[in-house]
Structure formats: structure tokens, C-alpha cells
């Protein structure tokens, strides 16, 4: 939002990532370019299978053995992460520079070790503390993520914690590594709404305190609206739209973003059928021709089936991969819901201006 976030921390350049599976090749990431700015929180939105998890796992070298980077660069701190291969090389990045909070806290903690042991492991590895000092640092970390009575909790096992508390512990472990980038892979999907809001609050707090850059992966647009400065919408292994949070919500340009926003039950009228995207995402085992969303888009242009659209800019911060933004394109009106959203955005912006000036 502020202009100070102009420094690029991590830069992905035309990345292609593939998996080989039973002799077939799955093109999971199809030419993504993305800059992550220092201190921002970026949300990557997409359905399952859109490649959002593969993308962030590539940043940490955590993809399965049958996956490989075909071409492209990941520039971080003067290094190209795409050239790293062995675990030993990756160890200087994992945790220390980029840490990750996974979706399900039930499975990301070791059930056989105490909570204290697991946080302490990270503290010893990354903060170079040992013995009593490490124990103390771990307890402090527990208190920091909002767990009361850390001395007692330190000796307990994961099963003695509730889902929300476990997610707090996972965040504590990630933060004990003192990373620069924190990746949150669906951090709240396994949690209830009330707890979800608390966890998002905690992550934001950590971001402020440690000057973190956060990357959220989620399919919940409510969460995105809450946390994101910028949003990247992914579909079929490609970023189809990227822009500041308000731009994507109130002035979306790509038909897929339109469809995604229109199908939210929050915007539906009771008793009437909800807008539904027909069909299913394309099979990435086959080469995708043109705009990947075209077969599901009733208003698709002819060129959408033939040629892949370039990333076209709407504003300096907002661009979308659709031919609709080309000056030669015919005028296609967005669906009704989107026009309503636009109006709403405009109204809110004016209101905001009035209050900020007054």
C-alpha cells in the first residue's frame, strides 16, 4: 500500500515447473513471473490443482523428487534458488530465510516429542542458543504467540493442545528460525471461524514485530480480504491476475476472477441459483492452448482458444493475463455481480476519502 514497499526481496522470472508421472509430463507451473516486495503480504489465490502450493514449495525446494524446474530463475539475496539441488544447499534457505506454516497443525507437529522440544530444535539450529538459554528462548517464543503458562505447556505433547493452539505452536516454530519470508499455506482452513480470525491476527502481529514478508496461499477470499496487500490469482499453473487487494476485489479484469467472485455465496441472492463456473479446470498433462480459462468462459473470444494472452497492465500495480485488456478487443461487460462490486468499491473509496480528509 505504502510506496516504501518498493524493494524487491524475491523475484521469480518466467518459471516453468514440471512433474514426470508414469511417463507423462505434468506442466504444473507455466511461466510465472512474480516479484515479492519487502514487508508486504502477498496472497496467492487459486483452486486446488492450480499450482499455488507447487509454486511456494519451489521456493523452498520441497517439491517431490519427480518434479523439476525446466527453466526460469528464482532470485533471492543475490542467488538463484533454481540452481540449488541438494538438501545441504537448501539448508541455508529453509527456515533461516524462508519458513513455512502448513495447513493442518495436526500433521505438521511430531506427536512423539514435546512442544518444547520441537521449538527448541529450531531455536538451537537457528539462534545458536544451547541448554538453559535455548529452553528460555523457546518459552519466550510460546508466550509470544499467545500461549498462557508457557513453562507448563513446554513439557506437553501436541495432543494436549487444541487445533488453534497447535497452529500457534507451528507459528512459534517458524518464527524461532527468524526468517525473512513466512509462507502460510492455507493457515486457517482446518480451523473454526472464531479461531481463524485470532490466528490471522497473530500472523499479522508477527509480521509487524519482525518486519516479515508474508506469502499466503488460500482459496478463501474472506481471508485474503483480511490479510493481503497484493493478490495474485492463479489458474491452471499460471498467474492470471495480480494487483493490490482493492484493485482485484473492486475492479477485477480477468474472466476467471469475475467468475470466482461471482460464485461466492455472500454475494448470492437467497432462493436464486448461485453463479457457478461450469466444467472443470484443464488437465495439465496436456499442453494448454491459448487462455486456460477459455473453455469454461461463456464469453470467451476466438483468440482465447488460439494464443496465450500476454500480461497486460491496467495500472502500474495491477495487470491481468487476458485479451480483454487489449485495445483491439471488443467490449465485454463483466457479469452483474462484478459491476455491483465496482460500484461498491467506488462508493467506499469516496467515503474513505471523505473520512480521511475530514
Amino acid at each position: 500500500m505504502e510506496t516504501q514497499q518498493s524493494e524487491v526481496l524475491l523475484s521469480i522470472r518466467d518459471l516453468h515447473f514440471k512433474f514426470t508421472l508414469r511417463g507423462q509430463v505434468l506442466h504444473a507451473i507455466r511461466g510465472i513471473s512474480l516479484d515479492v516486495m519487502r514487508g508486504e503480504s502477498l496472497a496467492i489465490v487459486g483452486e486446488s490443482g492450480s499450482g499455488k502450493s507447487v509454486l511456494v514449495k519451489t521456493l523452498m525446494g520441497l517439491n517431490d523428487q519427480n518434479g523439476f524446474i525446466e527453466s526460469g530463475q528464482i532470485l533471492y539475496g543475490g542467488r538463484d534458488l533454481a540452481t540449488l539441488h541438494t538438501d545441504a544447499e537448501w539448508q541455508s534457505i529453509r527456515g533461516r530465510e524462508i519458513a513455512m506454516v502448513l495447513q493442518d497443525p495436526m500433521t505438521s507437529l511430531n506427536p512423539l516429542k514435546t512442544i518444547g522440544w520441537q521449538i527448541r530444535e529450531a531455536v538451537e539450529l537457528h539462534q545458536n542458543l544451547h541448554g538453559e538459554a535455548a529452553r528460555k528462548a523457546a518459552c519466550e517464543m510460546l508466550a509470544e504467540v499467545g500461549i498462557s503458562d508457557p513453562e507448563r505447556r513446554y513439557k506437553q505433547y501436541p495432543h494436549e493442545f487444541s487445533g488453534g493452539m497447535r497452529q500457534r505452536v507451528v507459528i512459534a516454530i517458524a518464527m524461532a528460525c527468524r526468517p525473512k519470508i513466512l509462507i502460510c499455506d492455507e493457515p486457517t482452513t482446518a480451523l473454526d471461524v472464531t479461531i481463524q480470525a485470532q490466528i490471522l491476527g497473530l500472523i499479522k502481529e508477527m509480521q509487524k514485530k519482525y518486519d516479515l514478508t508474508t506469502i499466503y496461499i488460500t482459496h478463501d477470499l474472506g481471508v485474503v480480504a483480511n490479510v493481503a496487500d497484493r493478490i495474485a490469482v492463479m489458474y491452471a499453473g499460471d498467474i492470471v491476475e495480480i494487483g493490490r487487494c482493492e484493485e482485484v476485489f473492486y475492479d477485477p479484469r480477468h474472466p476467471y476472477t469475475w467468475a470466482l467472485l461471482s460464485s461466492l455465496p455472500q454475494l448470492g441472492v437467497k432462493g436464486q441459483p448461485l453463479y457457478a463456473i461450469q466444467g472443470t479446470p484443464p488437465n495439465l498433462f496436456h499442453e494448454v492452448k491459448g487462455d486456460a480459462f477459455a473453455p469454461r468462459n461463456p464469453q470467451a473470444l476466438k483468440i482465447d482458444f488460439v494464443k496465450r494472452p500476454p500480461m497486460l497492465a491496467v495500472s502500474p500495480t495491477h495487470s491481468a493475463r487476458t485479451w480483454l485488456l487489449d485495445p483491439r478487443a471488443p467490449k465485454v461487460e463483466p457479469p452483474e455481480h462484478i459491476r455491483a462490486l465496482r460500484e461498491r468499491g467506488r462508493a467506499l473509496r469516496q467515503q474513505g476519502e471523505v473520512t480521511s480528509h475530514g
Binding site: 491476527g201 477470499l221 482493492e246
Partner: protein
């Protein structure tokens, strides 16, 4: 209250507990509600609140420790005659949460959908069965040819449709849908929600819709019950509940709904529910109707406050 609507299901002070008799874990304490014919009744609560347990008690997968469930005026909990048991199984069907784990991986779709028809006393010929399967599949928007395939060949949304077809083939009157869309993607959710709504219109089905996502529940349900730690704390018509939430837990829950709207989302104020705000030592809470159709759990002092909130 004289009600023109016909009660389909009456849940009368049920209690469900697990574990040993001496140290029982009470999952559902004392829950009562009615579901009317043709409506969609929502049951909302966090995980561990007992909402699934109630659903399972209704399909008689969990035995009751106390209370009674009546379906179309007749008792269905406890011991039933074999014929009655079969009839009730046919009338009440369930759709499960996770379509990835609720389908038999080693059976073909045709068998999965037809399984209910194989039960004794419901004999039909192979040809009849095949026709029924084909009809059930096409009703949920799948091709009849899919009957010869295995579940792993389908996407999440399609698998959930198979789950729905399996429930429909017995022509039930009441469907218990336990978080039918929470495991699906946003773009597929709308398809399944529309399908459920269309089937309801077509066949006059009644749904018990169990969910934790309030925005979905608001969209699809006529009435909503909010459950917290085994107690229903509030029950009202959906819009009434969203306009005037009374119980502090309901208020906290509503305040936490994520809005797909960045400005509203950032201005939203979170309410936190603290169970110790109730003083139930002397004054016990009672389940009371504070206005027509709007029930809330509270003691006398709280109820007075709730009534005041409504008149304002």
C-alpha cells in the same frame, strides 16, 4: 404457537454421550429442535461442538443416552421393528463431508450408488437397478456411463455428486448433509449448492445442513441453530439471526465471518466469546422463545436483556 407447517423431524431433549458409563463424555447435552417439511435447517458450530453427532444420532449411527427423536410423528430412536428400521433408513439419508474418503475406492460407481438397493427386502431386478442408477446419476448431472468407472477417476465436485446420487437413489424424505461443500473448491461449491437447491425444489426434500461456514448457511438455510459445546444456544430464521443475534456466542461467531471485501474486512470488529460471562450458579439457563420463532438459551436475567435488545 399454531403452526401451519408440518413437523417432519422432532428432536426432543436428546443427549448423546461417549465413553464409559462411569466417566461419560457428553457430546450433546440437551438439544431440542423441530425440522419442518420442505425446509433447510442449518446447524452451525465449531468443530467439537457436537453438530455432526446430532446428525449421526438422527440417522441412528449414534445411540441416544436420553431423549427421543420422532420422524413424521413416530419414534425412530431406540429399538425398532425390522420393517420400520428399513423404512426409516430409506427415508433419512446422509451426504458426507469429504468426497475423497467417503466413497469405496475399490467399488465401481454403479455399485456405490446402488448399494442401498441391495439391502434385503428391497429386491429389484438387475435391469431395474441399472435404470435407477442411471437416473440417479443423470439427476445429479453426471453421465450414466460413469457407472462403470472407479471413484478415483473423478474430481472432488464429481465425487460429491456421486455421494448425492447415492443418497437420492432410495428416494429419501430427509437428507442430513454433513458439511457437503467444505472440502470442495470455491468454483465447484456453487455447482453443488445449486444442485442441492434444485433437487429440493424438484422433490420437496427436507435438508438438515450441517456446516461451520456461516456465509454458506445464510445463503441456503431457512432456519439456523447455533450450537456450542453440546448445547444449542440460539435458533431463529436465518435473516432474523443475522439481524439480531442475541446470545454472545452467536454474536462472536457472526463477527468472525470472513467478508470478501477488503474495506469491510479491515473495519470489522472481532467479538470474543468468553463462556465465563454467564453466571449460571444459581440461575439456571433455560431454552426460551423470546419472540415468535426465535429461541435462545439463557437465564432469567439474560433473557430480560435479550428482550430489551429486541425491542430496541
Amino acid at each position: 404457537m399454531a403452526d401451519p407447517r408440518e413437523k417432519m423431524l422432532e428432536v426432543d431433549h436428546i443427549r448423546v454421550q461417549f465413553g464409559k458409563k462411569r466417566h461419560p463424555f457428553v457430546a450433546v447435552r440437551d438439544v431440542s429442535f423441530d425440522i419442518y417439511k420442505g425446509e433447510t435447517f442449518g446447524l452451525v458450530g465449531e468443530s467439537g461442538s457436537g453438530k455432526t453427532t446430532i446428525g449421526r444420532a438422527i440417522i441412528r449411527a449414534n445411540p441416544l443416552a436420553a431423549g427421543e427423536i420422532r420422524f413424521e410423528g413416530q419414534r425412530i430412536s431406540g429399538r425398532l421393528s425390522a420393517a420400520r428400521d428399513r423404512q426409516v433408513t430409506r427415508d433419512i439419508q446422509m451426504i458426507f463431508q469429504d468426497p475423497m474418503s467417503s466413497l469405496n475406492e475399490r467399488a465401481k460407481v454403479g455399485y456405490i450408488v446402488a448399494e442401498g438397493l441391495y439391502a434385503p427386502g428391497r429386491h429389484c431386478s438387475e435391469e431395474e437397478r441399472r435404470q435407477k442408477v442411471a437416473k440417479a446419476l443423470s439427476d445429479v448431472g453426471l453421465l450414466p456411463e460413469f457407472a462403470s468407472r472407479f471413484p478415483h477417476e473423478f474430481s472432488g465436485g464429481q465425487r460429491q455428486r456421486i455421494g448425492i446420487a447415492r443418497a437420492l437413489i432410495l428416494e429419501p424424505k430427509l437428507i442430513v448433509a454433513d458439511e457437503p461443500i467444505s472440502a470442495l473448491d470455491v468454483s465447484i461449491r456453487a455447482q453443488v449448492l445449486n444442485l442441492l437447491a434444485a433437487l429440493q425444489k424438484e422433490r420437496g426434500l427436507t435438508y438438515l445442513f450441517i456446516a461451520h461456514d456461516l456465509s454458506v448457511v445464510r445463503f441456503i438455510c431457512d432456519r439456523i441453530a447455533v450450537i456450542h459445546k453440546g448445547d444449542i444456544v440460539e435458533l431463529a430464521e436465518s435473516e432474523q439471526l443475522f439481524a439480531h443475534p442475541l446470545h454472545p456466542y452467536t454474536q462472536a461467531l457472526l463477527s468472525a465471518i470472513p467478508q470478501p471485501d477488503p474495506i469491510a474486512e479491515r473495519q470489522k470488529k472481532l467479538l470474543v466469546y468468553d463462556p465465563s460471562c454467564h453466571d449460571y450458579r444459581v440461575d439456571k439457563p433455560v431454552w426460551t422463545e423470546v419472540e415468535p420463532g426465535h429461541f435462545v438459551l439463557g437465564n432469567q436475567r439474560e433473557l430480560e436483556g435479550y428482550r430489551k435488545m429486541l425491542t430496541r
